[in-house]
């Protein structure tokens, strides 16, 4: 399940721990909740800032992030016009970071959406219909879970040639099984509930029951898992770009680390800064995920 390079551990990937009711009373104590809500607030604020930066990247800095704007190798905090310095080609690092936020967030969101879409379809069908359908779909899920995620993503991207599309696909196909298992467990729980049985007695079709009754009730853990998936997709995209499998026409945090690596010995700030950007963003997304979990499924503990 977990994999930072890589991607984050989805606590929900194993159904046993997902169903575990928060065991210790202290967990809901006031100080704990306050601490939680404070970190959640911080996380949301940081994410909002990153999203704003990504959306407004074009209007804040109208220069192309790949343009040479100054002398190369300016260290951060030494030149007011380029607060975070320039890289070995004289490109402004701050402009690069902000533009790269766009790519990293977009890839993260798109890959997570793909994973959620496929995972929800597989999980819902598997849990709702049961029997051989469940057997078959569960086996398929296991196959995708067996292959080491990053190696698998590397193979997909290498075969389809690196582009935003193939990267999204590569990350998506390696992360949907976690969602599928989660949705399956929820669907199994809901399938026998009274309102679903009532709908069935009323003669409602399977598709409609799933869409109108089961999914809305299973959606909150999916939202939580989805936010954590975005975080892990950002990490995976960074790893792929670092390995040289990023989209060659775009600048992303991973590719900035990859190119900065060549001058690691003399100008390590070029590698350090994008890494800090990734860490902060991913951390904020994880905090947000934990916070959402407290709000949406207060009963269930995220390990």
């Amino acid at each position: 399940m977990s994999m930072q390079t890589t991607s984050i551990s989805l606590p929900v990937a194993n159904a046993a721990s997902n169903e575990r009711v928060r065991p210790f009373p202290g967990a809901s104590s006031l100080s704990y909740r306050l601490l939680r809500s404070r970190t959640t607030l911080t996380g949301s604020a940081v994410i909002a800032a990153v999203v704003m930066a990504a959306l407004l990247a074009g209007s804040i800095f109208d220069t192309d992030p790949l343009d040479m704007v100054a002398r190369p190798f300016i260290w951060p905090l030494t030149d007011a016009r380029h607060p975070l310095g320039t890289d070995m080609l004289g490109r402004d690092i701050l402009v690069g970071l902000v533009h790269a936020a766009r790519v990293s967030l977009a890839v993260g969101l798109a890959a997570a959406s793909l994973a959620v879409l496929v995972g929800v379809m597989f999980g819902a069908a598997s849990g709702y219909f049961g029997g051989w359908v469940d057997q078959l779909l569960t086996r398929i899920t296991e196959i995708f879970q067996t292959m080491p995620p990053l190696v698998f993503a590397v193979v997909v991207v290498a075969i389809l040639t690196p582009s935003v599309g193939s990267i999204i696909l590569g990350i998506g196909v390696t992360s949907w099984p976690q969602i599928a298992r989660l949705v399956r467990a929820e669907t199994l729980r809901l399938r026998e509930s009274e309102f679903v049985q009532a709908a069935r007695v009323m003669g409602m079709g399977h598709g409609r029951i799933i869409v109108t009754h089961i999914l809305p009730n299973a959606i909150s853990p999916v939202v939580v898992a989805g936010s954590i998936l975005v975080a892990s997709a950002i990490l995976t995209e960074a790893a792929l770009s670092f390995l040289g499998l990023g989209d060659p026409n775009l600048i992303s945090w991973g590719s900035m680390i990859g190119s900065g690596r060549e001058v690691l010995r003399t100008a390590w700030y070029m590698t350090a800064l994008p890494g800090v950007a990734i860490s902060i963003t991913v951390m904020a997304l994880n905090l947000l995920g934990n916070g959402l979990n407290d709000v949406l499924n207060p009963r269930v503990s995220l390990t």
Partner: protein, 334 residues
């Protein structure tokens, strides 16, 4: 009698193992099929790649190459051939390295295994220690500090940690080598060589373990907090047992099961992690091999690595389930 305590697999466990192995077979077959179709999806076939290398490619030469590799036959015949090869443990031939893929992989496996096992050992021991400390002082400063550290650990790319460690320990402090597995200048032997490899291992092992320390810390913490509330712990406390003894004998011991499961589940991701770490540190393992395969467009090799590592994960999962079934007799066998 001491003899009576010798452990023999009970029929329950053996039956369980048989069922699990039977379940794995379709998974292996499916991975084989997937691998094969991946090969066909790739733009350009092997003949084109080799002809491109040679520089000159007459249509006759291409046809000859295709015939040699069996590429002129129908998809089904090719598939059957592929499966037949795999059944004989033949993962194909790497034309770039002029070596059978399996030999190439097997020559790298020990290097990756050393890296992964050391990282796992470090991560599990530090993680359990940190988690136990965290659970013991829940809500106090050691817990807060360790929670903050593991939050960072979850969010930081492994390869970046590796690069930053290189900056600090190799470039600035000059304490440790920045890459490779041996000192290439001196031909060391015996103990000196082992010490040399160990020196080269420090940074990659630390970077690979970083993320997993965070996982194990959090897992141990929550498992211990859960066990702490159970009746037998309350009983032990009521009996007046020393708190350290309770923590070690009663709580930690029972908190270990989820850690065992996690270790099994983590293997695939640990392999993934070693791909980037081996690339950062130029460590001659499977990950580095996969990386080179991508850039040499050596698909046979790349798919071989994927197949082999999936196989390792399957075996590891089986072992985990098996260990689990032995450790916890309550596990339901389905």
């Amino acid at each position: 009698m001491a003899l009576a305590h010798i452990w023999l697999p009970r029929p329950r466990v053996l039956r369980y193992l048989a069922v699990r192995i039977a379940q794995v077979i379709p998974t292996v077959i499916a991975i084989v099929v997937l691998n094969f179709f991946f090969l066909r999806l790739a733009p350009g076939d092997l003949a084109e790649v080799i002809a491109g290398e040679a520089g000159s490619a007459t249509p006759e030469y291409m046809a000859l190459l295709r015939q040699q590799f069996g590429l002129d036959q129908s998809v089904w015949v090719q598939f059957v051939n592929y499966v037949k090869q795999l059944a004989q443990l033949n993962l194909g031939y790497s034309f770039r390295n002029s070596m059978p893929v399996l030999d190439l992989i097997l020559s790298r496996v020990p290097n990756t295994a050393v890296l992964m096992l050391s990282s796992l050992l470090l991560a599990v021991s530090l993680g359990i220690l940190f988690g136990a400390v965290s659970a013991h002082w829940r809500g106090r400063w050691p817990d807060a500090v360790l929670s903050a550290v593991s939050t960072v650990g979850f969010a930081t790319p492994l390869f970046w940690v590796g690069l930053m460690l290189i900056v600090l320990f190799s470039v600035e402090l000059r304490w440790l080598p920045a890459g490779g597995m041996y000192d290439l200048e001196h031909d060391l032997t015996g103990f000196a060589r082992i010490a040399d490899v160990a020196r080269h291992m420090v940074l990659p092992v630390l970077s690979l373990a970083f993320f997993y320390i965070a996982i194990y810390t959090r897992l141990t913490r929550s498992a211990m907090l859960e066990v702490q509330e159970l009746d037998f712990v309350r009983t032990a406390r009521a009996k007046g047992l020393h708190p350290v003894r309770i923590a070690l004998r009663h709580v930690l011991r029972n908190a270990l099961l989820p850690i065992v499961t996690m270790t099994g589940l983590q293997l695939g991701t640990l392999l993934s992690g070693s791909v980037v770490i081996e690339t950062v540190f130029a460590w001659p393992g499977m990950g580095r091999l996969a990386f080179d395969a991508v850039f040499q467009r050596d698909l046979n090799l790349l798919l071989g690595v994927l197949f082999f590592s999936s196989f390792l994960v399957i075996v590891a999962n089986l072992l985990t389930d098996f260990v689990y079934a032995i450790l916890d007799p309550r596990i339901e066998i389905r």
